[in-house]
Symmetry: C2
Amino acid sequence: MSASDKWLNHVKWDEQGLVPVIAQEVGSNDVLMFAWMNRDALAKTFELGEAVYWSRSRKKLWHKGEESGHTQKVHEIRLDCDQDVVLLKVEQAGGIACHTGRHSCFFEKLEAGGEWQAVEPVLKDPESIYK
Amino acid sequence: MSASDKWLNHVKWDEQGLVPVIAQEVGSNDVLMFAWMNRDALAKTFELGEAVYWSRSRKKLWHKGEESGHTQKVHEIRLDCDQDVVLLKVEQAGGIACHTGRHSCFFEKLEAGGEWQAVEPVLKDPESIYK
């Protein structure tokens, strides 16, 4: 561990070595997505200036946008009061963060009657995103 | 389970029966805090119209603001594309979500040199909040 990695020790990694991450769009302040990072992912994110997450399903680093082109340029990295949640302020390439082709992953809204409804438009057909 | 609880089955609870929750302020769109909910917590949140979380440390339901008065009036409940993360859009009583007396819990910013810096002001002395 180099001296420059010291800041990574301030983060309280969970028992799996992960930390939850919220990606928020600079400007609109929209919450775009939620993912996880391990130590390597956070170090790479800081180094590259682009969001790199840990894919729990694929068990490997996931440079967001590597397939879709929808990378996230990182403007700010924040940590919460318990040092166990990261907030990224990002510029979203293509304006699309979600694999469904929507701006944000949080497109299902609970209506008063107790029903989930998709309330955000699909901006781009996922099939044309992931060719 | 009553018919009206059906919407709770749409949420993908983790192996501990929990789901991560992001609280975002209506209007400013600031991300205020991050917490967890179990099924009961989400049901109560919907019923009350105020945020009720699951405290993993105290292992009980936590009606946000029960001690501090800093309750969160829920305007919207959103779910992400994997149905495993909840986003609440809330009105924050007192404008203070953090137990440190700050507006948001995400007050530590990573500076270019690799140092965390508290960049948000304490609006109220925590000792006067938790008497």
